[in-house]
Symmetry: C2
Subunit: 164 residues, 2 copies
């Protein structure tokens, strides 16, 4: 028997996911409106173009409601390099280890699909320190810093986890 | 008076450019068919969506015929970071300094548009050594190596030129 608050994972993408992804991403207070719009657009692209969109999703659900999700895909012109585009947990459910479990579940699916490595990037700004620590704690290695990439004073920090 | 063999630059994109870009990219013998198709698609996207495509082009012409081109654009979610997606000179015109002139002319346009930096990537495989040397010779600094990015044994090498 599954506990009502147990976490389950779902790869299938449904029409209602676009709005829910918007809620999850907005809830964090971490992203600009135009970034929320991009997150929602990726769900819509996937619904419209299917696997041809190149966007794979994994939803972490509790009691049938998505409380977090990841969006990832094989990087064009590579063999087995995957980009983790988004991984977000709803603000109401943070601090419960959901992000870590979602990340591991995502990595398992990438490995099963033949992926060699997961690449992920974030900003070097102070507010992203918890994000950077999350990746380091999750076994990611810092591979590069692209100074002033996002803006003057806003570096891009690139992490990788090798799966084999 | 312009010498008939003098190089001129053109930013406007015309319908005939899709086929010519295919010829230029194919002529080098350097790219797979699916890579040639991507190069052509970017021209088609630009023709269809205009500046909204995010793809800017610069054609180097001699006697009215494009002998090389660059394709570049501001990277999404950045302020002033430009990606140089393609820079190719037709095989028949190589070794004449056209690539260097085209690169400088592209950088001038990026700087005029407020760009802070040009980012460009290539493979670490031996066959790309002339490409890597071209960027270093042109004032680009190697910013990062992403080991095994394209494939096992095929690194991505990232260069940057700061414009201000």
């Amino acid at each position: 028997m599954t506990r009502p608050d147990a976490l389950t994972f779902r790869e299938e993408v449904r029409p209602g996911d676009a709005a829910r992804v918007g809620e999850i991403v907005s809830s964090t207070g971490f992203f600009h409106d135009h970034e929320v719009a991009v997150a929602v657009e990726l769900v819509e692209e996937r619904l419209r173009d299917g696997m041809g969109s190149g966007y794979l999703f994994l939803f972490a659900e509790r009691d049938g409601l998505a409380v977090g999700y990841s969006c990832y895909g094989e990087i064009a012109c590579t063999r087995g390099s995957y980009d983790l585009y988004w991984i977000v947990v709803h603000q109401d459910c943070r601090g419960q280890g959901i992000g870590g479990r979602l990340l591991r579940a995502t990595e398992e699916r990438i490995a099963a699909a033949g992926g060699r490595a997961v690449w992920v990037e974030t900003s070097g700004r102070p507010q992203y320190r918890p994000t950077r620590e999350f990746y380091l704690r999750s076994g990611y290695a810092q591979e590069a810093v692209m100074r002033d990439f996002y803006d003057a004073g806003d570096d891009k920090v690139l992490y990788v986890k090798r799966l084999r």
